[in-house]
Subunit: 193 residues, 2 copies
DNA sequence: CGAAAATTTGACATGACTCAACTGGAGTGG
DNA sequence: CCACTCCAGTTGAGTCATGTCAAATTTTCG
């Protein structure tokens, strides 16, 4: 029932047999978070890899001065975890917090291992997931170096047209790596151009 | 002979049988590049995934203004490719150029597929490789937002102590995302602090 | 040695940040 | 229904980090 979206999503990608599907179901958990709740808090070990069924969450790093830097947003069909903490089971440097009521399907590290062992197709799927994530992370590094905040903002709007409306603007600023004040001025200038 | 370092490196990580080793050898190629040579040029398809045996190379993006932005350096034991171009076999946005005479072992995309199909251990190994790369890419995104160029430079020195001596300083500047002029002034200030 | 490449220096320009004050909703409670 | 507060967003003045451009200096290497 609640896990249906995941199955549908996965079946599209790797075409699971009935047996594989039911095995998968033994390894996952459905969970619902309220707006504002934390899926992961800085300092805790990241116990779950999360597949977002609905809602919206952010992953962020809070620096020593207390400023928050948003690493990514995740909505339906996105995967979300602090990979570093998840695979090594060491305390995380990141927060994951829900910006809306959010439904997720969770894998524990053991569950993921079991899955990979028993259904090798998953190796390929997860590898693809990682590849895509790495490619876009590298792009973002270069983007931040080679473009002004204004340009980055325009690209962000193109790439995530739906997200901007759903969240407070100061979070968009944080994702782009600028202050909310500068972001506000920037948007103004864009209007009068 | 020339492929020995790769085997040794891999055997340490995944413990290959004799048969697996000899199969591996059928899927790889050894190649030597001179200083200055390109392993990959912007616009070409990335035909190979490269394991660096010796030497040093950089992966970089040249923007429309002609400025070069360095994504990463690779020395012994690093893997190097434009993953996006490699997996989709579409033209690359990056250059990979040797900064020293460099020996690499190359996998084609097909070769890599074969390897993964025939020696499932490789799935795990490659997944780990990707995980680590992704974790550090995400860290670098945040680092660039939350730290000044000076701080980033000090971290770079700690993390890659051997690289700074081997390459022209303007490339370090490019990796850090600052101009060579600013980088020069910055280092001066650090001395008198 | 001489030419090209790398690095440094200085004057000036600008993107982006800080801080503080202000505006304008969206509750909330009396 | 008003007064109050809280939070997001805006605005402005001043500052700082970093960029630009042009010239001078040093290093590298044929």
């Amino acid at each position: 029932m609640n896990t249906k979206p995941l199955l549908e999503h996965l079946v599209k990608e790797i075409d699971l047999s009935k047996e594989e599907q039911s095995f998968l179901l033994t390894q996952i958990n459905y969970r619902k978070y309220l707006k504002g709740q934390y899926i992961l808090q800085q300092g805790d070990v990241c116990k779950h890899s999360n597949y977002v069924v609905s809602g919206c969450a952010k992953m962020a790093y809070v620096d020593k001065e207390g400023y928050e830097h948003i690493v990514m947003f995740a909505t339906t069909d996105w995967w979300l975890s602090d990979l570093g903490s998840f695979i090594t089971q060491t305390p995380s440097d990141y927060n994951i917090q829900c910006l809306e009521p959010t439904e997720v399907i969770q894998f524990t590290q053991q569950g993921e291992e079991e899955l990979l062992k028993n259904i090798p197709k998953f190796e390929r799927l997860f590898r693809h997931k990682l590849q895509n994530a790495l490619v876009s992370a590298q792009k973002r590094i270069i983007l931040n170096f080679s473009h002004t905040a204004k340009e980055r903002y325009l690209l962000f709007k193109k790439q995530y047209p739906s997200i901007e409306q759903r969240i407070p603007q100061y979070m968009v600023a944080s994702y782009l790596g600028v202050t909310k004040e500068f972001f506000s001025k920037m948007k103004n200038e864009l209007l009068s151009e």
